[in-house]
Structures are given as C-alpha cells and as structure tokens.
C-alpha cells in the first residue's frame, strides 16, 4: 500500500462525512483557541513569578513582600519619555531592598542609584526592548529588532545622555569625554553633545606653517613614521606611512614653510656662558626653579614621565629643535605661534642660554641615526601635498597651501544609536555596537586597509572609556527634553584693556580660571581681589613661591617688571571682587589678642587644623591645604572670616570641609590667623 493511500484513509476518517467534518473542525478550533492561554500559562514570566512567590515564603518579611507583589504583566509607563517597560514583570524585586543578599537574577533588587525606577524606567539606561515579555526578546537583538541590553561595563554611557557635567559616579564616562577632547577626536569628527554644544578638542596641535625653522627634515620624517618613538606620551596617532609616503610628506612640509614673525627679528648675539660650571646642570636647575614641569614632562632615568601633560614632552627635545629657533621661541613663543598656550617669560640672555643648553642636551642619539631621507623634488612635493590633503593633516595642523577640510570624518553625534545593518563588522568579531566602536578605536585599519583613520596609542582602559563616552551619543540623548539635560556652563571671559593684554601675554588663563573661563591647574582668580592684601600680591608676583609645599605643579616666575606687577595687581584688586566682603561682614575691632588666643586654642585642639595646614613651620606638618604661616599678610580678615564660615559657598568643590562654625569661633580663628605674619619680603617660605 502506498503512502498516498494510507494518508487518504486517515483523511477520510476525519472529513469523510459532514458530521465528521463538523467534529474535526470543532476540535481543531478548540485546540487553536487553547494555544494562546496555554502559551500564557507556560510563559517564562509566569514561571519566574511563581519562583518568586516560592522564594519570598522563606523570608522573614514574607507577608510584607507578598502584599507588595501582584501577579501579571507589570509595566512602567511614562508616555512623555517614550517609556513602556515591562522588565518588572520578571525582575519583580527591583525595589525590595530587603532582598539585597539575593544575587540570582531576575530576583535581585536594583542597587542604589540616583534615580527612581518609576522616574525613567529601565530601557533609558540599560537599553533592550522594554515592551518584550521574554528574556530572549528583551535582552538580545536580532538584525530586525536591534537594541540589545547595554553591557554593565558601559552602563555609565546612559548617564551621559543627560549629564554633561562630571558626575562623581561616572569616572569612566568622565575619562572618556576627557580623552575625546585630549586626543583631538573632534578635529576630524563632529560630535554634537546632548546640550547642543560640540566636543571641543583641547590638544591644540602646533601650526606647521613655519616648521622648517623649528626642526629638521630628518626629525619630521621620523615623527611622521612613528610619533611615539620620539615621545611616548605623544597624542599624534600613527598613520603607518611607508618610507616613501613619510618622505613625500616631509618634502611638502619643508617646501610650504614660510618665515615666522620671530625670524624677522635679528638673533641677539649669543650669551657667553661663564667658564667653569656646567651649563647643562645649571640649565636643569633653572628648568626646575621655573617650574617648567608644571606643563612639560621629561622621562627620568627610571623611564617614568615627570611633569605635566599640558605641553609637549621634552625627553628628546634636543633631537627636534634647531638651536636658533629655540632661543627665539624661549624669548617669544607667540612670535612663532600666536595661538600657543606657552606664556612669554621675561627671560634674559643668560636664562635663554642655560635653558637652551639643558634642552638641547635632552636627546637620544639612536632616534635619527637610521633615517635615510628619500630625495626631495617637485614630484615628491606634489605627492606630499596630496597625502597631506587626503589624510586630513589640516584638520589638526595649520599648513600653508591646503585648506582645512569640512566634515572630514563621519559625524559621531548619534553613534550610540547607529543601526547595526549600517555597521561593517569584521569577520569573527561579536556583532554588537560596543564591540564595533571599541574595535574601531583599537585598530581602525583592521576594518579595511583603505580606511584613513590612524592608530592611536591607547590602553584598554582608555578605549573602554572612549567607547563609553561615544555610546552616550544616542538618538534618545538628542531628543531628550531640554529641562533634563544637565549642562556645564561655558564662559568666554577674557580680561580687557592693557592689563588684559598683559594677562594674555602671560597666558594666565592656561592655568587659572576667571569668571568661568580658563584652566583648572591653578586657583580660580574670580574673587582674588576680595581675598588678598595688595602688599602680599605685589610680593607674590615678584617672587611667586608656593603656598602648597606638596604640589609638583607651581606658579612659574615670569620675571615681571615693577610696572607690569603694579598694573596686574591693581587690575586684579579692582576687577576681581566678590560681593559681601566689605567691612560690614565683620567687626574688625573684635579681632583682639584675647580672640586670637581663643582662636589658637580652637585651631590646635578643637578643630586640629594643623592636620592639614601649617601655621608654624617649626611644629606643624600638614600639607593638604595651603600653608597658613604668613596668611595674615596674604588674606584680608573679612575674606578669612567668610571662608571659615562656609568655604563651599565661595569655592564650590573645595576639599576644605564646611565646619559650620558659630560666629564667635569663626571670629576667634580669624583673629588668630591674622596674627600669622612672616615679617619679611618674598611671601611664604
């Protein structure tokens, strides 16, 4: 009997006659109608909810947990934020703090967080499909329905959708944003942030318009080939140029170079250093006393970088710079590069000679030993120009003859929501967005040899941080209601007039912030005029010795003239005033010797201020805060009093605790501090 015949008999049994057909169809309908309730009955979430009910029976607070739990599909619905999250259907105990010892999912309570569950739901931070009611659909993505759970290691990215300010709880995001600016990502990629501002690069790559004055073709060649061979801390990425390409670029850079303003001034006769003595040694100690290391780093014998990262590393500066260029640069950095952050020191010829001999001695004889420059000719210059243009060198550096490109690289403003079907994954890599972004930062050319993005020297931690910062750039971040976006203020304050030009010349705002604009390396000067006494300020400008003995980074000595000091001091004392620091805040006649004696007792016993401050160099050792020996010369009593009453109100973010001193204690301490005077010129020791 054939298969067809057998099948025919079965078919006949079910649908042979009308009643049989009716019965069969009825049974079929009943089965079909039962499918949905059955699926629902055996659904994953019901399973979890049953397990949960079972679990809470064993808990001491079973009754309370039971009362707070209702079965069924649960949902957080916030229409104005586009949130309809059913995650709590399985994650039933998210708000049950008493279950915090349970680590097994989906029953773990949510750890402490700054927002409540009902305020934002789940998907805003964790991604995933909020409407799904199975684990598979909620957590994982398919090519058609893509929005997988954001891995825990990148979850700080979600905070960055609203928060532009540095949060205490998001170190990885903060680092990533810092690196985006520091490694100059935004020179090539436009990145609009949720508050509408652009990521602004802070690395300030040098102008190359006069580069032939500064260095040699051999150095340019070696640098273009591998920047990190010259300075391990260099942020310039490695383009993996061939010798031929590096040679062509060198040819073009040398040929386009024009004379700088500095070169139009005759070089003063070189200073004859006194016989005997070691100029390199003397230069090194001058480098130290000038606090060049506040901004520049040099590798020490152990291979560790010592110094700041604001300015280029100088470990092998002797391999790079032409001696005449260096002498002119030290006298006037702005005459070579008007946009440099380097201040113009008032060096005399001896200082320049000593510093030059020290810096020129910082070299590594092997660095340029094997450089064989290809011949430079009009063809190589033309090829070099094309490379400079093709690889977007002008996105970072100013170079004659090549215009800065517009939108050179893809806009990254919404990279965190990039659809996966638009992503070209490498073969074998996990097909997720975080893996793609991290992979692209780690080794861009692995995604295609023709890609132009260069290789940056970044650690795994830095790549993770950068990926986090980029994952914050989501569609949701762009469409977030403006009232939710926490922006940090942007100010453009620059001092005006003649003192303003002087402060510009000294690049004060490279380190000091004034009215919200400037660096964070040195104290904020916004209210400096209310804080300090004129005599002290004049002394300090002349000889800026540190108030914080433990700091490596310190105010350099600019060798200002008396007229310059007077002009600067008068300006700061009148322009940088805060309100409420007049004599009405404190009755100065109450600062008598009795108050000072009580204040001394409070200082040493009740509040143990000497743990952090030095009032007397002979016996105190604390150096968390500034030294207070001589503070009576430095600060006005009204300032001291108000500072003691509430330091955070004057300087938000200061690490000085607010002791909430009663008025009389603050007054007594002020009286004591006012007696701390050094009685000599030159400020603190």
């Amino acid at each position: 009997m054939s298969l067809g015949n057998q099948f025919g008999r079965v078919w006949g049994f079910f649908v042979g006659t009308a009643p049989r057909r009716f019965a069969s169809v009825s049974v079929l309908l009943a089965v079909v109608a039962a499918i949905a309730p059955t699926k629902d009955f055996f659904s994953q979430w019901r399973h979890y909810q049953k397990l949960y009910v079972h679990l809470i029976q064993t808990r001491p607070d079973a009754d309370r947990l039971q009362r707070r739990f209702d079965t069924g599909i649960r949902q957080i619905w916030i229409p104005e934020r586009g949130v309809a999250d059913r995650c709590t259907t399985c994650h039933v105990a998210l708000q049950e703090a008493s279950l915090s010892d349970i680590r097994k999912q989906p029953f773990r309570p949510h750890p402490a967080m700054p927002h409540s569950l009902t305020e934002f739901g789940c998907v805003v931070c964790h991604h995933g499909q909020g409407a799904a009611t199975t684990g598979q659909e909620a957590h994982y993505s398919s090519k058609a329905w893509e929005q997988p759970i954001l891995p825990a290691r990148y979850v700080e990215a979600s905070c960055g959708q609203c928060h532009m300010d540095n949060l205490e709880g998001t170190p990885q995001l903060n680092l990533g944003r810092k690196l985006l600016a520091r490694f100059g990502c935004a020179h090539c990629h436009a990145i609009t942030q949720p508050d509408g501002t652009f990521v602004a690069p802070v690395d300030e790559p040098p102008s190359l318009e006069h580069v032939a004055e500064k260095t040699t073709p051999e150095w340019i060649f070696a640098w273009v080939k591998n920047p990190q061979a010259y300075a391990a801390s260099a942020t310039m990425p490695n383009y993996r140029f061939s010798d031929q390409e590096a040679g062509d670029i060198t040819s073009y850079l040398m040929s386009q170079s024009t004379p700088s303003e500095n070169s139009s001034h005759p070089l003063p006769p070189s200073f004859a250093l006194p016989k005997g003595g070691d100029p390199v040694q003397a230069g090194a100690s001058l480098y130290g006393t000038l606090f060049c290391a506040s901004c520049h780093a040099i590798q020490n014998a152990a291979g560790n970088l010592v110094g700041g990262e604001m300015a280029p590393e100088l470990t092998r500066a002797g391999n790079k710079v032409n001696p005449d260029w260096l002498r002119r640069w030290l006298r006037s950095p702005q005459g070579y590069d008007p946009k440099t952050r380097m201040p113009r020191y008032r060096f005399d010829e001896k200082d320049v000679a000593l510093l030059s001999s020290f810096l020129l001695s910082k070299k590594d004889d092997d660095l340029l030993a094997n450089v064989r420059l290809p011949e430079s000719n009009p063809q190589s210059v033309a090829r070099g120009k094309k490379l400079v243009s093709d690889y977007g060198c002008v996105a970072c550096h100013r170079i004659n003859g090549v215009a800065p490109p517009e939108s050179f690289a893809p806009d990254l403003s919404r990279i965190g929501s990039k659809p996966l079907f638009q992503v070209g994954f490498m073969h074998g890599m996990p097909e997720t967005l975080p893996d793609y972004i991290a992979g692209k930062i780690h080794d861009p050319r692995a995604f295609g040899p023709a890609l132009k993005m260069p290789t940056f020297s970044l650690t795994d931690t830095q790549i993770e941080a950068l990926t986090t910062a980029l994952l914050a750039q989501t569609d949701r971040a762009v469409t977030m209601p403006p009232e939710l976006v926490r922006s940090s203020p942007h100010a453009k304050y620059h001092p005006g007039g003649e003192p303003g030009r002087l402060m510009e010349d000294l690049r004060c705002q490279s380190c000091h912030s004034i009215n919200g604009n400037g660096g964070d390396m040195a104290p904020d000067l916004t209210n400096e005029g209310s804080a300090v006494n004129r005599a002290w300020l004049l002394d300090f400008m002349k000889n800026p010795n540190t108030l914080r003995p433990a700091l490596v980074r310190r105010m350099p000595k600019f060798n200002l003239s008396d007229a310059e000091i007077k002009s600067l001091s008068d300006y700061m004392l009148s322009a940088y005033q805060a309100s409420g620091f007049d004599s009405q805040a404190l009755d100065l006649s109450s600062l008598n010797s009795g108050a000072a004696a009580r204040g001394k007792e409070l200082f040493y016993t009740k509040y143990a201020c000497q743990s952090c401050h030095i009032a007397d160099y002979k016996k105190d050792k604390g150096y968390v805060g500034p030294a207070l020996a001589g503070v009576g010369d430095r600060l006005t009593p009204v300032w001291t009093y108000r500072w003691l009453k509430n330091p955070t109100a004057i300087l938000p973010g200061t690490s000085m605790p607010n002791f909430s001193l009663p008025d009389n204690e603050a007054r007594d301490l002020t009286a004591f501090l006012a007696t701390l005077k050094e009685h000599k010129k030159g400020g603190a020791k």
Partner: protein, 242 residues
C-alpha cells in the same frame, strides 16, 4: 490529488520545527597535561578594583611550582569564578611556570573570587582563590568622594598628583579604607556618624573633621559602601533583623 501536497507541507513543517529546536552545543575541547605541579601561587593581578563588568587592566598571573619550589612548565591550570569571565578558561604554564589570564568582572558590585586550580598527581586538585573587587554606581561615588576628601590622610600611598598627608599627623593615625581588620568591626551607623560628626563624636581624634555640612548623606553612605567593598579581609554584613 490535493492531499499529497498537504502531506508534504506537514512534513516540511515538522522538519523546520525540529531544525528550529536543535540546540546549539559547542563544547570546547579540554586541555590535558601529564605534567603536575605541587602548589600554585599568585604572582600578580589580585585585589584590583574596577567598575562592574569591566575587564581588569592587569592580567592575573599565577605560577605552578614543583615540590622543589621552582616553576613547572606545561602544567594545566583551570580558572573559574562565580560571575567572572576568564580568558582563557584553562591553559598550560609557560617555560617559567606561569600562566596569565585576563579577567572580566561580573555585573554586580562586590567582591569576586577567582579560583585557579591545578590537578594533583594521582587525582584531586589544589587551588588558590584570588580576590577582585567590582564597584557599582554607589561605590564609584564613594571612591570619588573618598579620593577627594578622605584620601589625603587615609591613603598612605603618594602619587605625583597627591602626596599622602598620613605621616604628618599625630597619633592616633587614620586607617586605610582597605583595613578590614579594624573597619569591619565598626557598624555602618558608627562609620556614618564619624564621617558626619567628626572623630570626637565617637570619642576619637578631632583630626577627622565633621562633614555634616560638606557632604550629603547620600555621599556619606556611598563612602561607607565603598569602604565595605574594598575591605581586606572582606566585610560580611551582619544578619539584619528584617
């Protein structure tokens, strides 16, 4: 004639169903070795502190030693840890007897134990446990706040950015936040009190200022959460009355 295609359709549906139900199993071939060590020791990479889910910046390195105390090459080491990701899961020691493994922390804040295990000659295993610490949101806040306000005195390590002030204080000296032997004995309430109201509130040194008006209670609790997480030896919360 109509019946036959229907039969085919049912058959096809069954085939599709069964293929859809097929489980994807990918068992990796297990390493084996005939070389046995006597003991296993940690070389580096323990006690790292990082965010939840993060791959630790330094690998964990262990060494297998023979009875003579020298490294044994080619010995098998297996790694596993509840909630931890390890790459590789097992490896043979190199010429110096060492194995390096990269570790990814789990998604839950707290301590993790990485077990490194070697088979013993004649059956059984020997293993060591290496502790790593994962910080969640609250512990990260605590770490930042501690670094800024507490670390100057409580952290004995100096960095180029910050010189430790610990040696400048008069005894009684502050305890490092990792000092579980001392701090585990203090209750959460006492830790919160000493931060909020200063040392004298618990009859201790006034060198610990009161942070009542400087830090919020959320920040203070975050510091306590951080102290609990990095405690060495680990902190175990007392069974609370619910």
């Amino acid at each position: 004639m109509k019946r036959f295609p229907l039969g085919c359709l049912i058959l096809l549906a069954l085939v599709l169903l069964s293929s859809g139900c097929k489980k994807h199993s990918s068992a990796t071939p297990s390493l084996s070795s005939k070389v046995y060590g006597a003991q296993i020791v940690e070389v580096s990479g323990g006690k790292q502190v990082a965010g939840v889910g993060v791959k630790l910046s330094d690998p964990v390195v262990v060494q297998v030693n023979g009875a003579d105390g020298n490294g044994v090459a080619g010995a098998l080491v297996r790694f596993h840890g509840d909630g931890l990701g390890t790459n590789p899961n097992e490896a043979l020691t190199d010429a110096s007897g060492q194995v390096s493994v990269s570790v990814q922390l789990g998604g839950i804040a707290g301590g993790y134990e990485l077990a490194a295990e070697i088979p013993k000659q004649g059956g059984g295993t020997t293993s060591i446990s290496i502790r790593e610490v994962a910080l969640g949101y609250r512990e990260k806040v605590g770490k930042e706040v501690s670094y800024k306000y507490c670390g100057n005195c409580h952290d004995p390590e100096s960095t180029p950015e910050r010189v430790s002030n610990l040696d400048n204080l008069t005894p009684p000296l502050p305890h490092p936040f990792t000092d579980g032997n001392t701090l585990n004995a203090m209750s959460d309430a006492d830790l919160i009190k000493i931060i909020t109201d200063g040392g004298p509130a618990l009859g201790k040194s006034p060198q610990t200022p009161a942070y009542r008006n400087t830090l919020t209670q959320t920040q203070i609790k975050a510091v306590v959460a951080y102290i609990r997480t990095v405690a060495d030896p680990p902190y175990h919360a007392p069974a609370s009355k619910r």
